[in-house]
Amino acid sequence: MVTVNLWSGLRSHVDGRDSVEIEANNVGEVLRGLVRAYPQLEPVIAAGVSVAVDGRIYAQGLTQPVAPDSEVFLLQRIKGG
């Protein structure tokens, strides 16, 4: 299981928690697992998110591996100007 930290604005979607446990081996599985466990997150994830794995921010890469001890944060999608 991977601990996925969520931004606190998402708490209302996940029973008031700030992190959830997801069975996942990569970023794509993290996102799919989140939606499976909490369907309310679907529009949020569909709108675009980034995932930080051990401090590195992945805006798109679903194949990035995730280990059980990885630090994983869901972030709003990072863009630029």
């Binding site: 401090g55 921010i57 709003q76 863009k79 100007g81």
Partner: protein
């Protein structure tokens, strides 16, 4: 050199300062920008724009316009695709209004004619009947009870119940317990701040030349930061297949985030489709101001607690951003960047995305971050002043480092904030005496940077030179950096690499030139593509020598036998391999296609001295120093240029630039005379210090540099002005009337 090897020293070309490859084009007038394209049989187009901030469109009568001699076609919203959703619908709605005009300057119709003058005359003959609606242009007013609703139902699921329908997105993040943190503080300061909308202010207005025929195949030439993105959006809006539209990026006369979307391109294509003739469409400057993205204006509350020794105990911020008549104000970045430079246990931030009757905001250089720094770093300055602490010492004491938990959640990889702060403290500027009526301000700034989809090819010629094709428009000299990196890897002279910005038919998809990603991502791709080519070169040499591929190394532009075969064969220069490539396996081309994800966040520290005339409220920036971590400066001169440009834009935003709306909801200052960007006589020389703390996510350690440079200036200048004037400035721009008013105690 292995395909993914990291190299941070021993560079032969990277770090030098050669002349840019497109230099002669740019100094002779030969370079072709957006408006410099012409085609046989070309028509000219003009757009009809709403004079109202908010109005229902009752009817559009085009008969008088169509009757004018020389007019060939008129388009309205009915000429674009239906059924788009989400962001795509928003972009189309912004390109051409549907049921309602949502801001002063919103396009409602367009016309193509045989000359630009006829097109403009015809546009005046298009009669639009409006029902004027109540409007709102201020962010706080738009959130208040009773404010006119811009679009009911626009809010997404993030918005808590009970907020005004104009609040369309909500962000909340943080960690720790801010209440407890404030309890540990010796001093807590809470202040409110406002910033006004600033335009990217690129000197080149949007321009394009479109051609779309009855066969459904199209060509588009335009000035854009991302022609692949333009292709995708235009295809959707015209209801055509993306691959049937080939988009070529012209030279681009500045973008700064403002040319990351489409405004006129779909309109020109629609007119071309109706006429089967090429259509040129060029915005006037007032159209640029009225109808293309400025950045958001903000209303912010920031609260910070500090111990007497300078330790920050808690940070809390509320950030309200209006992004015009569409969702998308970058409030989550404002919230996430606000406290990012500091290692703080207790932090909490909230963001609101608010719709108003203003043009759809577009990204502007580190979207959302400069405003955040203004609020945070102003409060830090007040805390330092009241506690008698040195502002750089305090920032160093709290600075985030590798392993620190960022205010937005994850732990940092290797970062260079401490190094910028130390360099700033040691810089002669920081200890230089101040003159009378002068004040000094410092600030840190943070930006994420970005990778994104990237595709390059590097084709070798028979003579051993290289043609590098990248898909990211060159806004500020990136061709030079690409040539340097390719030359470094191939071991050939800089002048033997030619970099071209390829069109959408020639390369795989490339994300927009934004997020400070070009030197990082296209650079990474260039290095990898060059290594791919080198592997192929080595293979040809190995075959020629009859040895194992792994036993060949690449050095100084030559294949050399290594290991047991070292010295057995003479080095084989690149030109000798490429001369025979047709008969040894075919053309040699290096590729790289991927989505690099290790952009590496970056930090800057700025020092500025400002002089305030207390009788008139006039401010002069007398000295400015930028210290920023570049990771690795590929072409240091252009890195300096990015630092200086970011600082200058920040100076304009801090002192004079703002969107001014009248009570009628119309933009009052849609000309460069009254939208006051800095002129040459307004600025001092801008000193730069390049700090290099390698980014672990790039083979040479590169971090993006374009955006972070605009993050500290608003705050640094506000601190300098506040310290010079003896009164805290909480509203940008700090125009002379605002400064005099503040001196009078508001």
């Amino acid at each position: 050199m292995a395909f993914d090897e990291v190299k941070t020293e021993g560079f032969k070309q990277v770090g030098t300062r050669p002349r840019r490859p497109d230099g002669v084009d740019k100094v002779t007038g030969r370079a072709k920008f957006g408006a410099d394209a012409y085609a046989p049989g070309m028509l000219h187009a003009a757009i009809v724009r709403s004079p109202h901030a908010h109005a229902r469109i009752l009817s559009i009568d085009t008969s008088r316009a169509k009757a004018l001699k020389g007019v060939k076609a008129v388009v309205t919203r009915a000429d674009f695709a239906e059924g788009l959703t989400g962001d795509d619908w928003d972009v189309l709605e912004n390109v051409m209004a549907g049921d309602k005009a949502l801001y002063d300057g919103h396009a409602v119709a367009a016309v193509a004619a045989t000359s630009a003058l006829i097109a403009r005359d015809a546009a005046k003959l298009i009669e639009v009947e409006y029902e004027v609606l109540a409007h709102v242009t201020d962010v706080d007013a738009a959130m208040a009870d009773g404010a006119p609703v811009i679009r009911d139902g626009a809010a997404d699921s993030s918005v808590p119940a009970g907020l005004h329908p104009n609040v369309v997105r909500y962000h909340e993040s943080g960690h720790g317990d801010v209440h407890a943190g404030f309890g540990e503080a010796d001093l807590v300061i809470e202040e409110s701040f406002r910033t006004e909308a600033a335009h990217q202010g690129y000197i080149e207005p949007h321009a394009c030349l479109a051609q779309l025929g009855p066969d459904g195949k199209g060509e588009l030439w335009c000035c854009t930061q991302g022609h692949f993105h333009v292709q995708k959006l235009c295809a959707k809006m015209l209801g055509m297949e993306a691959s049937n539209l080939r988009v070529t990026a012209s030279e681009i006369g500045g973008g700064f985030g403002g040319k990351t979307t489409v405004f006129i391109e779909p309109v020109a294509l629609a007119l071309s489709r109706k006429t089967s003739r090429p259509v040129k469409l060029v915005m006037s400057r007032s159209e640029v101001f009225r109808a293309t993205g400025p950045t958001s204006s903000t209303s912010m509350d920031v609260k910070i607690g500090m111990k007497k020794d300078g330790t920050i105990t808690a940070c809390q911020g509320v950030f309200r951003l209006q992004g015009g008549a569409f969702p998308g104000a970058p409030m989550e970045f404002t919230a996430m960047c606000a406290f990012a430079p500091y290692d703080v246990k207790n932090v909490h931030q909230i963001g609101y995305d608010v719709m108003t009757n203003r043009p759809k905001q577009a990204a502007y250089r580190a979207p959302g971050s400069p405003m955040a720094a203004f609020a945070t770093e102003s409060v830090l300055d007040m805390l330092c002043n009241q506690l008698g602490l040195d502002p750089l010492d305090v920032r160093l004491k709290n600075a985030a480092k590798e392993g620190s938990k960022a205010s937005y959640g994850p732990r940092y990889e290797r970062i260079g904030l401490v190094e910028t702060l130390e360099a700033a403290r040691e810089h002669a500027h920081y200890s230089a005496p101040l003159g009378s009526d002068q004040g000094r301000g410092v600030s840190c700034g943070f930006w994420f940077n970005h990778g994104g989809e990237t595709s390059v090819t590097l084709a070798l010629s028979e003579d051993g030179t290289a043609a590098l094709s990248v898909g990211t428009p060159d806004i500020g000299g990136s061709r030079a950096s690409m040539c340097l990196m390719a030359a470094e890897e191939l071991g050939i002279p800089y002048d033997n690499v030619r970099t071209t910005i390829a069109d959408t038919a020639t390369l795989g998809y490339n994300e927009v030139s934004h997020g400070s990603r070009v030197t990082y991502a296209s650079g990474l791709a260039t290095i990898r593509a060059a290594r791919d080519a080198v592997q192929k070169l080595c293979a040809r040499a190995a075959a020629k020598w009859g040895i194992d591929e792994d036993a060949v190394i690449w050095e100084d532009g030559c294949a050399k036998p290594s290991g047991p075969n070292a010295g057995e064969f003479d080095p084989l220069p690149i030109a000798e391999i490429t001369a025979e490539m047709g008969s040894t396996g075919g053309p040699i081309v290096g590729h790289f296609e991927a989505t690099p994800e290790g952009a590496g966040v970056s930090f800057a520290t700025h020092i500025v001295d400002a002089e305030v005339d207390k009788e008139t409220g006039a401010t002069k920036v007398v000295r400015y120093t930028v210290v920023q971590d570049a990771g690795k400066a590929i072409h240091p001169t252009y890195v300096e240029g990015q630092y200086q440009g970011g600082a200058a834009q920040g100076i304009g935003w801090a002192l004079n630039e703002e969107y001014i709306y009248g009570d009628d909801g119309r933009l009052q200052n849609a000309v460069f005379l009254d939208y006051r960007i800095p002129v040459a006589s307004d600025l001092p020389m801008i000193d730069t210090v390049i700090v290099e703390v390698p980014n672990p996510g790039h083979p040479y350690g590169v971090r993006g540099v374009g955006e972070t440079s605009i993050c500290p200036p608003l705050a640094a200048i506000a601190n300098a002005v506040s310290n010079a004037a003896g009164v805290r400035m909480r509203h940008l721009p700090m125009s002379p009337p605002r400064i005099l008013k503040a001196l009078d105690g508001d």
